[in-house]
Protein backbone atom coordinates (compact mmCIF):
# COMPACT_ATOMS: atom_id res chain seq x y z
CA UNK A 1 0.00 0.00 0.00
CA UNK A 2 1.22 3.50 -0.86
CA UNK A 3 0.69 5.64 2.21
CA UNK A 4 2.18 8.78 0.72
CA UNK A 5 -1.14 10.01 -0.71
CA UNK A 6 -3.00 9.84 2.60
CA UNK A 7 -3.66 12.88 4.77
CA UNK A 8 -3.18 12.73 8.55
CA UNK A 9 -6.95 12.35 9.04
CA UNK A 10 -7.12 9.56 6.46
CA UNK A 11 -4.26 7.72 8.13
CA UNK A 12 -5.99 7.93 11.49
CA UNK A 13 -9.22 6.64 9.96
CA UNK A 14 -7.37 3.74 8.35
CA UNK A 15 -5.76 2.85 11.65
CA UNK A 16 -9.05 2.96 13.54
CA UNK A 17 -10.81 0.86 10.88
CA UNK A 18 -7.85 -1.54 11.07
CA UNK A 19 -7.24 -1.23 7.32
CA UNK A 20 -3.54 -1.21 8.17
CA UNK A 21 -1.42 -1.30 11.30
CA UNK A 22 0.80 1.43 12.71
CA UNK A 23 3.84 -0.82 12.39
CA UNK A 24 3.07 -1.35 8.68
CA UNK A 25 2.84 2.42 8.23
CA UNK A 26 6.05 2.95 10.19
CA UNK A 27 7.91 0.24 8.24
CA UNK A 28 6.70 1.79 4.99
CA UNK A 29 8.24 5.15 5.91
CA UNK A 30 11.44 3.58 7.25
CA UNK A 31 11.71 1.79 3.92
CA UNK A 32 11.10 5.08 2.08
CA UNK A 33 13.95 6.57 4.08
CA UNK A 34 16.23 3.65 3.29
CA UNK A 35 15.59 4.05 -0.42
CA UNK A 36 15.65 7.83 -0.66
CA UNK A 37 18.17 9.02 1.90
CA UNK A 38 21.17 8.18 -0.27
CA UNK A 39 19.92 10.80 -2.73
CA UNK A 40 18.23 13.36 -0.48
CA UNK A 41 20.22 13.29 2.80
CA UNK A 42 17.41 14.94 4.76
CA UNK A 43 18.14 13.24 8.09
CA UNK A 44 21.05 13.54 10.49
CA UNK A 45 19.85 10.70 12.68
CA UNK A 46 17.22 8.00 12.09
CA UNK A 47 15.76 6.33 15.17
CA UNK A 48 14.60 3.00 13.72
CA UNK A 49 14.24 1.25 17.06
CA UNK A 50 12.44 4.13 18.77
CA UNK A 51 10.05 4.55 15.84
CA UNK A 52 9.19 0.85 15.75
CA UNK A 53 8.67 0.68 19.51
CA UNK A 54 6.35 3.67 19.35
CA UNK A 55 4.42 2.11 16.45
CA UNK A 56 3.97 -1.13 18.40
CA UNK A 57 2.78 0.81 21.44
CA UNK A 58 0.15 2.58 19.32
CA UNK A 59 -0.97 -0.72 17.79
CA UNK A 60 -1.38 -2.07 21.32
CA UNK A 61 -3.52 0.96 22.18
CA UNK A 62 -5.69 0.35 19.12
CA UNK A 63 -6.07 -3.34 19.99
CA UNK A 64 -7.23 -2.41 23.49
CA UNK A 65 -9.63 0.16 22.10
CA UNK A 66 -7.92 3.04 23.94
CA UNK A 67 -8.41 6.59 22.77
CA UNK A 68 -5.83 7.76 20.23
CA UNK A 69 -4.14 11.14 19.93
CA UNK A 70 -4.90 13.40 16.98
CA UNK A 71 -1.62 12.49 15.27
CA UNK A 72 -1.65 8.81 16.18
CA UNK A 73 0.85 6.79 14.21
CA UNK A 74 1.96 9.70 12.03
CA UNK A 75 5.67 9.41 11.17
CA UNK A 76 7.48 12.74 11.38
CA UNK A 77 10.90 14.38 11.27
CA UNK A 78 12.11 16.92 13.84
CA UNK A 79 14.58 19.68 13.01
CA UNK A 80 17.93 19.06 14.67
CA UNK A 81 17.62 22.32 16.65
CA UNK A 82 14.72 20.86 18.67
CA UNK A 83 15.43 18.53 21.60
CA UNK A 84 14.06 14.99 21.54
CA UNK A 85 15.09 13.11 24.67
CA UNK A 86 17.66 10.40 24.04
CA UNK A 87 18.39 11.47 20.45
CA UNK A 88 21.41 13.47 19.45
CA UNK A 89 20.82 17.18 19.02
CA UNK A 90 23.59 19.10 17.30
CA UNK A 91 21.71 21.97 15.65
CA UNK A 92 23.77 21.12 12.60
CA UNK A 93 27.01 22.01 14.40
CA UNK A 94 30.27 20.22 15.15
CA UNK A 95 30.35 21.94 18.52
CA UNK A 96 27.39 19.78 19.61
CA UNK A 97 28.37 16.71 17.64
CA UNK A 98 28.09 14.22 20.50
CA UNK A 99 25.39 15.96 22.48
CA UNK A 100 22.38 13.85 23.46
CA UNK A 101 19.23 15.67 24.49
CA UNK A 102 18.40 15.07 28.14
CA UNK A 103 14.80 16.25 27.85
CA UNK A 104 12.02 16.81 25.30
CA UNK A 105 11.22 20.26 23.94
CA UNK A 106 7.67 21.30 24.86
CA UNK A 107 6.51 20.98 21.23
CA UNK A 108 7.90 17.42 21.22
CA UNK A 109 6.10 16.63 24.50
CA UNK A 110 2.92 17.90 22.84
CA UNK A 111 3.48 15.80 19.71
CA UNK A 112 4.18 12.70 21.80
CA UNK A 113 0.91 13.29 23.70
CA UNK A 114 -0.81 12.96 20.33
CA UNK A 115 0.95 9.62 19.68
CA UNK A 116 3.24 10.60 16.80
CA UNK A 117 6.12 8.47 15.59
CA UNK A 118 9.41 10.35 15.53
CA UNK A 119 11.55 8.98 12.71
CA UNK A 120 14.59 11.12 13.37
CA UNK A 121 16.32 14.49 13.34
CA UNK A 122 16.50 16.52 10.16
CA UNK A 123 19.43 18.38 8.67
CA UNK A 124 19.74 22.16 8.92
CA UNK A 125 22.12 25.05 8.49
CA UNK A 126 24.35 25.25 11.55
CA UNK A 127 22.37 26.91 14.37
CA UNK A 128 19.69 27.75 11.77
CA UNK A 129 21.99 30.29 10.10
CA UNK A 130 21.58 29.93 6.38
CA UNK A 131 19.16 29.67 3.50
CA UNK A 132 20.27 26.48 1.76
CA UNK A 133 21.19 23.91 4.48
CA UNK A 134 24.69 23.96 2.95
CA UNK A 135 25.99 25.43 6.22
CA UNK A 136 25.27 22.15 8.01
CA UNK A 137 28.49 20.78 9.47
CA UNK A 138 27.45 17.25 8.53
CA UNK A 139 25.93 16.87 5.08
CA UNK A 140 24.34 18.62 2.14
CA UNK A 141 20.63 17.97 1.74
CA UNK A 142 19.35 17.84 -1.82
CA UNK A 143 16.08 19.16 -3.20
CA UNK A 144 13.83 16.16 -4.01
CA UNK A 145 12.58 17.95 -7.15
CA UNK A 146 16.12 18.28 -8.53
CA UNK A 147 19.07 16.76 -6.70
CA UNK A 148 21.43 19.44 -8.06
CA UNK A 149 19.46 22.13 -6.22
CA UNK A 150 19.38 23.14 -2.57
CA UNK A 151 16.26 22.43 -0.48
CA UNK A 152 16.41 25.94 1.00
CA UNK A 153 17.12 26.58 4.63
CA UNK A 154 17.62 26.59 7.38
CA UNK A 155 14.95 23.89 7.86
CA UNK A 156 16.05 22.21 4.61
CA UNK A 157 16.02 18.67 5.98
CA UNK A 158 12.53 19.15 7.38
CA UNK A 159 11.24 20.40 4.01
CA UNK A 160 13.06 17.76 1.97
CA UNK A 161 11.92 14.79 4.09
CA UNK A 162 8.29 15.80 3.55
CA UNK A 163 8.71 16.60 -0.15
CA UNK A 164 10.62 13.34 -0.66
CA UNK A 165 7.87 11.33 1.08
CA UNK A 166 10.21 10.23 3.84
CA UNK A 167 7.85 11.59 6.52
CA UNK A 168 4.24 12.79 6.70
CA UNK A 169 5.17 16.04 8.37
CA UNK A 170 8.03 17.74 10.14
CA UNK A 171 8.79 20.53 12.55
CA UNK A 172 11.00 23.43 11.58
CA UNK A 173 11.98 26.73 13.14
CA UNK A 174 11.82 30.13 11.49
CA UNK A 175 13.87 33.18 12.51
CA UNK A 176 13.99 34.98 9.16
CA UNK A 177 12.25 32.55 6.79
CA UNK A 178 13.71 29.19 7.76
CA UNK A 179 10.37 27.35 7.53
CA UNK A 180 8.77 29.23 4.65
CA UNK A 181 11.69 29.52 2.23
CA UNK A 182 12.54 25.77 2.27
CA UNK A 183 8.81 24.96 2.13
CA UNK A 184 8.67 27.12 -0.99
CA UNK A 185 11.76 25.50 -2.56
CA UNK A 186 10.50 21.96 -1.84
CA UNK A 187 6.83 22.46 -2.74
CA UNK A 188 5.39 21.82 0.73
CA UNK A 189 3.27 23.87 3.14
CA UNK A 190 5.08 25.58 6.00
CA UNK A 191 3.64 27.81 8.72
CA UNK A 192 5.62 30.38 10.70
CA UNK A 193 3.16 31.00 13.52
CA UNK A 194 2.67 34.32 15.32
CA UNK A 195 5.65 35.08 17.54
CA UNK A 196 4.82 33.43 20.85
CA UNK A 197 2.23 30.95 19.54
CA UNK A 198 4.42 27.86 20.02
CA UNK A 199 6.64 27.37 23.06
CA UNK A 200 10.36 27.43 22.25
CA UNK A 201 11.37 25.56 25.40
CA UNK A 202 13.84 22.99 24.10
CA UNK A 203 14.62 24.83 20.86
CA UNK A 204 18.30 25.73 20.59
CA UNK A 205 18.06 29.52 20.44
CA UNK A 206 19.33 31.62 17.53
CA UNK A 207 17.65 35.04 17.85
CA UNK A 208 15.14 34.90 20.68
CA UNK A 209 13.05 37.93 19.69
CA UNK A 210 12.38 36.32 16.29
CA UNK A 211 12.58 32.51 16.67
CA UNK A 212 9.39 30.54 16.22
CA UNK A 213 8.70 26.80 15.78
CA UNK A 214 6.18 25.67 13.18
CA UNK A 215 4.85 22.74 11.14
CA UNK A 216 5.72 21.64 7.60
CA UNK A 217 3.46 19.24 5.73
CA UNK A 218 2.24 18.12 2.30
CA UNK A 219 -1.05 20.00 2.50
CA UNK A 220 -2.71 22.76 4.52
CA UNK A 221 -5.03 20.46 6.46
CA UNK A 222 -2.12 18.36 7.76
CA UNK A 223 -0.23 21.53 8.61
CA UNK A 224 -3.20 22.72 10.67
CA UNK A 225 -3.52 19.39 12.48
CA UNK A 226 0.11 19.60 13.58
CA UNK A 227 -0.19 23.26 14.51
CA UNK A 228 -3.17 22.49 16.77
CA UNK A 229 -1.10 19.84 18.52
CA UNK A 230 1.93 22.03 19.27
CA UNK A 231 0.20 25.16 20.58
CA UNK A 232 -0.84 25.47 24.23
CA UNK A 233 0.31 27.52 27.17
CA UNK A 234 3.76 26.68 28.44
CA UNK A 235 5.14 28.41 31.52
CA UNK A 236 8.64 27.53 30.43
CA UNK A 237 8.63 30.07 27.57
CA UNK A 238 7.69 33.51 28.91
CA UNK A 239 6.80 34.75 25.41
CA UNK A 240 4.33 31.93 24.88
CA UNK A 241 0.70 33.03 24.48
CA UNK A 242 -2.32 30.81 24.97
CA UNK A 243 -3.81 30.65 21.46
CA UNK A 244 -7.10 29.23 22.76
CA UNK A 245 -7.74 32.62 24.37
CA UNK A 246 -7.31 34.49 21.12
CA UNK A 247 -10.67 35.84 20.11
CA UNK A 248 -10.10 37.42 16.72
CA UNK A 249 -10.34 34.19 14.75
CA UNK A 250 -12.93 34.44 12.02
CA UNK A 251 -15.04 31.32 12.04
CA UNK A 252 -15.78 31.29 8.35
CA UNK A 253 -13.89 33.10 5.64
CA UNK A 254 -15.84 34.01 2.50
CA UNK A 255 -13.78 34.97 -0.54
CA UNK A 256 -16.19 37.73 -1.54
CA UNK A 257 -15.67 39.49 1.81
CA UNK A 258 -11.90 39.34 1.62
CA UNK A 259 -9.61 42.29 1.21
CA UNK A 260 -6.17 41.24 0.01
CA UNK A 261 -3.08 43.37 -0.28
CA UNK A 262 -0.24 42.81 -2.70
CA UNK A 263 2.48 45.27 -1.62
CA UNK A 264 4.45 46.67 -4.54
CA UNK A 265 7.71 46.36 -2.59
CA UNK A 266 7.42 42.57 -2.90
CA UNK A 267 6.89 42.49 -6.66
CA UNK A 268 9.70 44.72 -7.85
CA UNK A 269 13.37 44.47 -8.66
CA UNK A 270 15.05 41.12 -8.01
CA UNK A 271 11.88 39.06 -8.43
CA UNK A 272 12.15 36.44 -11.18
CA UNK A 273 9.54 36.89 -13.88
CA UNK A 274 8.12 33.37 -13.74
CA UNK A 275 7.73 33.54 -9.95
CA UNK A 276 6.01 36.90 -10.35
CA UNK A 277 3.66 35.51 -13.00
CA UNK A 278 2.67 32.55 -10.80
CA UNK A 279 1.96 34.65 -7.69
CA UNK A 280 0.06 37.27 -9.66
CA UNK A 281 -1.90 34.40 -11.18
CA UNK A 282 -3.09 33.30 -7.73
CA UNK A 283 -4.07 36.86 -6.87
CA UNK A 284 -6.04 37.17 -10.14
CA UNK A 285 -7.87 33.93 -9.36
CA UNK A 286 -8.85 35.25 -5.94
CA UNK A 287 -10.02 38.47 -7.54
CA UNK A 288 -12.07 36.52 -10.05
CA UNK A 289 -13.62 34.60 -7.14
CA UNK A 290 -14.75 37.87 -5.56
CA UNK A 291 -11.92 39.04 -3.33
CA UNK A 292 -11.01 42.73 -3.34
CA UNK A 293 -7.38 43.35 -4.23
CA UNK A 294 -6.10 46.51 -2.58
CA UNK A 295 -2.90 48.40 -3.32
CA UNK A 296 -0.83 48.67 -0.20
CA UNK A 297 2.69 49.71 0.58
CA UNK A 298 5.17 48.55 3.18
CA UNK A 299 7.75 51.29 2.61
CA UNK A 300 10.14 50.21 5.38
CA UNK A 301 10.23 46.58 4.23
CA UNK A 302 13.12 47.53 1.96
CA UNK A 303 15.27 47.93 5.08
CA UNK A 304 14.12 44.72 6.74
CA UNK A 305 17.07 42.59 5.68
CA UNK A 306 19.68 45.06 6.91
CA UNK A 307 17.74 45.51 10.14
CA UNK A 308 17.47 41.74 10.56
CA UNK A 309 21.17 41.14 10.09
CA UNK A 310 21.90 43.46 12.97
CA UNK A 311 19.25 42.29 15.43
CA UNK A 312 19.56 38.57 14.67
CA UNK A 313 23.36 38.56 14.86
CA UNK A 314 23.41 40.61 18.08
CA UNK A 315 21.06 38.15 19.71
CA UNK A 316 22.95 35.19 18.26
CA UNK A 317 26.26 36.46 19.61
CA UNK A 318 24.73 36.41 23.10
CA UNK A 319 22.76 33.17 22.71
CA UNK A 320 25.72 31.24 21.34
CA UNK A 321 27.98 32.32 24.20
CA UNK A 322 26.71 29.23 26.05
CA UNK A 323 28.72 26.96 23.75
CA UNK A 324 31.94 27.25 25.66
CA UNK A 325 33.26 23.71 26.00
CA UNK A 326 32.52 23.51 29.73
CA UNK A 327 29.18 21.81 30.36
CA UNK A 328 28.48 19.84 27.18
CA UNK A 329 29.46 19.39 23.58
CA UNK A 330 32.84 19.47 21.94
CA UNK A 331 35.66 20.88 24.06
CA UNK A 332 39.27 21.67 23.39
CA UNK A 333 40.03 20.37 26.88
CA UNK A 334 39.67 16.85 25.46
CA UNK A 335 42.27 17.52 22.80
CA UNK A 336 45.53 16.11 24.19
CA UNK A 337 47.63 18.02 21.67
CA UNK A 338 46.13 21.39 22.44
CA UNK A 339 48.16 23.84 24.51
CA UNK A 340 45.74 25.52 26.85
CA UNK A 341 47.07 28.11 29.26
CA UNK A 342 43.81 29.14 30.89
CA UNK A 343 40.04 29.21 30.67
CA UNK A 344 40.11 31.84 27.92
CA UNK A 345 42.02 29.41 25.70
CA UNK A 346 39.45 26.67 26.36
CA UNK A 347 36.66 29.02 25.31
CA UNK A 348 38.24 30.51 22.23
CA UNK A 349 39.85 27.34 20.87
CA UNK A 350 36.69 25.29 21.46
CA UNK A 351 34.59 27.92 19.70
CA UNK A 352 37.10 28.71 16.98
CA UNK A 353 37.34 25.04 16.06
CA UNK A 354 33.74 24.05 16.77
CA UNK A 355 31.76 26.70 14.87
CA UNK A 356 31.53 26.85 11.10
CA UNK A 357 32.30 29.91 8.94
CA UNK A 358 28.79 31.36 8.73
CA UNK A 359 28.21 31.04 12.47
CA UNK A 360 31.55 32.70 13.21
CA UNK A 361 30.71 35.49 10.76
CA UNK A 362 27.40 36.18 12.49
CA UNK A 363 28.86 36.01 16.01
CA UNK A 364 31.53 38.48 14.89
CA UNK A 365 28.98 40.83 13.32
CA UNK A 366 26.76 40.70 16.41
CA UNK A 367 29.68 41.21 18.78
CA UNK A 368 30.87 44.14 16.69
CA UNK A 369 27.42 45.79 16.61
CA UNK A 370 27.06 45.44 20.38
CA UNK A 371 30.60 46.51 21.21
CA UNK A 372 31.34 49.75 22.99
CA UNK A 373 30.82 52.80 20.80
CA UNK A 374 28.69 51.08 18.14
CA UNK A 375 25.52 50.24 20.07
CA UNK A 376 23.56 53.35 19.06
CA UNK A 377 24.63 53.23 15.44
CA UNK A 378 23.68 49.60 14.92
CA UNK A 379 21.53 47.85 17.52
CA UNK A 380 19.45 50.82 18.64
CA UNK A 381 19.04 52.02 15.06
CA UNK A 382 17.91 48.56 13.96
CA UNK A 383 15.42 48.35 16.85
CA UNK A 384 13.90 51.61 15.65
CA UNK A 385 13.71 50.43 12.05
CA UNK A 386 12.03 47.26 13.32
CA UNK A 387 9.46 49.50 14.95
CA UNK A 388 8.80 51.21 11.59
CA UNK A 389 8.36 47.84 9.89
CA UNK A 390 5.86 46.79 12.56
CA UNK A 391 3.99 50.04 11.98
CA UNK A 392 3.90 49.35 8.24
CA UNK A 393 2.25 46.00 8.83
CA UNK A 394 -0.16 47.50 11.33
CA UNK A 395 -1.20 50.16 8.82
CA UNK A 396 -1.55 47.53 6.11
CA UNK A 397 -3.75 45.30 8.24
CA UNK A 398 -6.07 48.21 8.94
CA UNK A 399 -6.87 48.14 5.21
CA UNK A 400 -6.60 44.44 4.29
CA UNK A 401 -7.21 41.00 5.85
CA UNK A 402 -4.21 39.29 4.29
CA UNK A 403 -1.06 40.17 2.39
CA UNK A 404 0.02 37.93 -0.46
CA UNK A 405 3.60 37.86 -1.74
CA UNK A 406 6.08 35.43 -3.24
CA UNK A 407 7.87 33.48 -0.49
CA UNK A 408 11.23 33.82 -2.24
CA UNK A 409 12.27 35.95 -5.23
CA UNK A 410 13.37 32.80 -7.08
CA UNK A 411 12.94 29.02 -6.97
CA UNK A 412 15.61 26.64 -5.58
CA UNK A 413 19.13 27.55 -6.69
CA UNK A 414 22.08 25.28 -7.47
CA UNK A 415 24.15 23.69 -4.75
CA UNK A 416 27.34 25.78 -4.25
CA UNK A 417 25.87 28.70 -6.22
CA UNK A 418 25.73 31.19 -3.34
CA UNK A 419 27.84 29.55 -0.65
CA UNK A 420 30.82 31.89 -1.09
CA UNK A 421 28.83 35.09 -1.11
CA UNK A 422 27.01 35.67 2.21
CA UNK A 423 25.08 38.68 0.95
CA UNK A 424 23.71 36.86 -2.09
CA UNK A 425 22.59 34.05 0.21
CA UNK A 426 20.90 36.52 2.57
CA UNK A 427 18.88 38.02 -0.30
CA UNK A 428 16.85 34.82 -0.71
CA UNK A 429 15.10 35.74 2.55
CA UNK A 430 14.15 39.25 1.48
CA UNK A 431 10.38 38.55 1.49
CA UNK A 432 10.30 36.43 4.62
CA UNK A 433 12.44 38.47 7.03
CA UNK A 434 9.98 41.44 7.43
CA UNK A 435 7.38 39.00 8.79
CA UNK A 436 9.62 37.89 11.65
CA UNK A 437 10.48 41.48 12.52
CA UNK A 438 6.77 42.31 12.73
CA UNK A 439 6.09 39.13 14.71
CA UNK A 440 3.09 38.27 12.54
CA UNK A 441 2.24 34.80 11.19
CA UNK A 442 2.81 33.71 7.59
CA UNK A 443 2.46 30.54 5.58
CA UNK A 444 4.15 29.34 2.41
CA UNK A 445 2.29 27.02 0.08
CA UNK A 446 2.95 25.65 -3.40
CA UNK A 447 1.52 27.96 -6.06
CA UNK A 448 2.93 26.60 -9.29
CA UNK A 449 6.02 25.28 -11.05
CA UNK A 450 8.88 27.03 -12.79
CA UNK A 451 10.58 24.51 -15.04
CA UNK A 452 10.25 21.58 -12.64
CA UNK A 453 10.86 23.60 -9.50
CA UNK A 454 8.11 24.63 -7.06
CA UNK A 455 7.25 28.27 -6.46
CA UNK A 456 5.79 29.27 -3.11
CA UNK A 457 3.08 31.77 -2.26
CA UNK A 458 3.39 33.57 1.08
CA UNK A 459 0.20 34.48 2.97
CA UNK A 460 0.78 36.98 5.77
CA UNK A 461 -1.85 37.83 8.39
CA UNK A 462 -2.14 40.03 11.46
CA UNK A 463 -1.03 38.89 14.91
CA UNK A 464 -2.76 35.65 15.98
CA UNK A 465 -4.60 35.22 12.67
CA UNK A 466 -2.84 31.86 12.21
CA UNK A 467 -6.05 29.87 11.83
CA UNK A 468 -7.47 32.44 9.39
CA UNK A 469 -4.35 32.10 7.27
CA UNK A 470 -4.77 28.32 7.28
CA UNK A 471 -8.39 28.78 6.20
CA UNK A 472 -7.45 31.04 3.31
CA UNK A 473 -4.68 28.60 2.32
CA UNK A 474 -7.25 25.80 2.12
CA UNK A 475 -9.40 27.97 -0.15
CA UNK A 476 -6.42 28.75 -2.41
CA UNK A 477 -5.48 25.05 -2.50
CA UNK A 478 -8.85 24.34 -4.12
CA UNK A 479 -8.90 27.29 -6.56
Amino acid sequence: MDFTKLTIKEIKEGLLKKEFSTIALCDFYLNQIEQKEKDIDAFLQIDIEGAKNQAKAIDAKIAKGEELGSLAGIPCGIKDAILVEGLSCASGSKILENYKAVYDATCVVNLKKQDVIILGKTNMDEFAMGSSTEHSAFKITKNPFDLKKVPGGSSGGSAACVAGNEAVFSLGSDTGGSIRQPASFCGVVGLKPTYGAVSRYGLIAFASSLDQIGPMAKNVEDCEEVFKAIIGKDEKDATNVDMSKIKNQKSNIQIKDLKIGAPKEFFGEGLESKTKEIIEGVIKKLEAAGAKIIDISLPSAFYALACYYILATCEASANLARFDGIRYGKSEIRNQNSELKNLFDVYSKTRGGGFGDEVKRRIMLGTFALSSGYYDAYYLKAKKVKHLIKQDFKNAFSKVDFILTPTSPFPAFNIAEKIDDPLKMYLSDIYTVPVNLAGVPALSMPAGMDGGLPVGLQIIGGHFSDFNILQLAKIIEKL
Binding site: V102, S300, A306, L343, R351, K381
Partner: protein
Protein backbone atom coordinates in the same frame (compact mmCIF):
# COMPACT_ATOMS: atom_id res chain seq x y z
CA UNK B 1 35.45 49.63 6.71
CA UNK B 2 36.77 47.55 9.51
CA UNK B 3 40.47 47.22 10.30
CA UNK B 4 42.37 44.02 10.89
CA UNK B 5 43.10 45.13 14.46
CA UNK B 6 39.40 45.65 15.02
CA UNK B 7 38.63 42.15 13.71
CA UNK B 8 41.16 40.70 16.16
CA UNK B 9 39.68 42.73 19.02
CA UNK B 10 36.14 41.58 18.20
CA UNK B 11 37.27 37.95 17.88
CA UNK B 12 38.76 38.21 21.35
CA UNK B 13 35.55 39.66 22.75
CA UNK B 14 33.58 36.86 21.08
CA UNK B 15 36.03 34.22 22.36
CA UNK B 16 36.76 32.97 18.86
CA UNK B 17 40.22 31.74 18.03
CA UNK B 18 40.63 32.64 14.35
CA UNK B 19 43.51 31.70 12.06
CA UNK B 20 45.39 34.33 10.06
CA UNK B 21 43.49 33.36 6.88
CA UNK B 22 40.19 33.50 8.75
CA UNK B 23 40.95 36.98 10.04
CA UNK B 24 41.65 38.24 6.52
CA UNK B 25 38.49 36.67 5.10
CA UNK B 26 36.45 37.92 8.06
CA UNK B 27 37.68 41.46 7.45
CA UNK B 28 36.52 41.28 3.84
CA UNK B 29 33.17 39.60 4.62
CA UNK B 30 32.30 41.95 7.47
CA UNK B 31 33.18 44.98 5.36
CA UNK B 32 30.74 43.80 2.68
CA UNK B 33 27.94 43.12 5.15
CA UNK B 34 28.49 46.39 7.05
CA UNK B 35 28.38 48.22 3.74
CA UNK B 36 25.00 46.65 3.01
CA UNK B 37 23.75 47.40 6.53
CA UNK B 38 24.82 51.02 6.04
CA UNK B 39 21.63 51.59 4.03
CA UNK B 40 19.86 51.98 7.39
CA UNK B 41 21.49 55.39 7.60
CA UNK B 42 18.95 56.54 5.02
CA UNK B 43 16.05 55.85 7.40
CA UNK B 44 14.90 58.71 9.58
CA UNK B 45 14.27 57.32 13.05
CA UNK B 46 14.56 60.56 15.01
CA UNK B 47 10.86 60.54 15.91
CA UNK B 48 10.74 56.98 17.20
CA UNK B 49 10.29 56.29 20.90
CA UNK B 50 10.77 52.60 21.50
CA UNK B 51 8.92 52.79 24.81
CA UNK B 52 5.72 53.39 22.88
CA UNK B 53 5.65 49.90 21.40
CA UNK B 54 2.21 48.44 21.75
CA UNK B 55 1.07 44.96 22.71
CA UNK B 56 4.27 44.20 24.51
CA UNK B 57 3.42 42.54 27.78
CA UNK B 58 5.85 43.55 30.50
CA UNK B 59 7.88 41.39 32.81
CA UNK B 60 6.31 37.98 32.71
CA UNK B 61 7.87 36.62 35.88
CA UNK B 62 7.74 33.41 37.79
CA UNK B 63 8.81 32.61 41.33
CA UNK B 64 12.50 32.00 41.67
CA UNK B 65 12.36 28.54 43.17
CA UNK B 66 14.75 25.67 42.71
CA UNK B 67 13.07 22.66 41.13
CA UNK B 68 14.64 19.57 42.57
CA UNK B 69 15.72 16.95 40.08
CA UNK B 70 16.30 13.24 40.42
CA UNK B 71 19.85 11.94 40.77
CA UNK B 72 19.33 10.27 37.43
CA UNK B 73 18.76 13.66 35.76
CA UNK B 74 21.76 15.14 37.52
CA UNK B 75 23.88 12.26 36.27
CA UNK B 76 22.54 12.70 32.73
CA UNK B 77 23.55 16.35 32.80
CA UNK B 78 26.95 15.81 34.38
CA UNK B 79 27.78 12.94 32.04
CA UNK B 80 27.81 15.46 29.15
CA UNK B 81 30.54 17.57 30.73
CA UNK B 82 33.86 17.26 28.88
CA UNK B 83 35.96 17.54 32.06
CA UNK B 84 34.39 16.12 35.18
CA UNK B 85 35.62 15.28 38.63
CA UNK B 86 33.09 13.51 40.83
CA UNK B 87 29.97 15.66 40.88
CA UNK B 88 31.84 18.73 39.76
CA UNK B 89 32.75 20.20 36.40
CA UNK B 90 36.42 20.99 36.26
CA UNK B 91 37.73 24.12 34.49
CA UNK B 92 41.12 25.57 33.73
CA UNK B 93 42.45 28.40 35.86
CA UNK B 94 40.94 31.77 35.02
CA UNK B 95 43.97 33.96 35.66
CA UNK B 96 47.43 32.98 34.55
Amino acid sequence: MISKEEVIKIANLARLDLSETEIEKMQKDLAGILDYIGQLNKVNVSEIELESEENVPENILRDDVAVSQTLETVEKMLSQAPNREGNHIKVKEILT
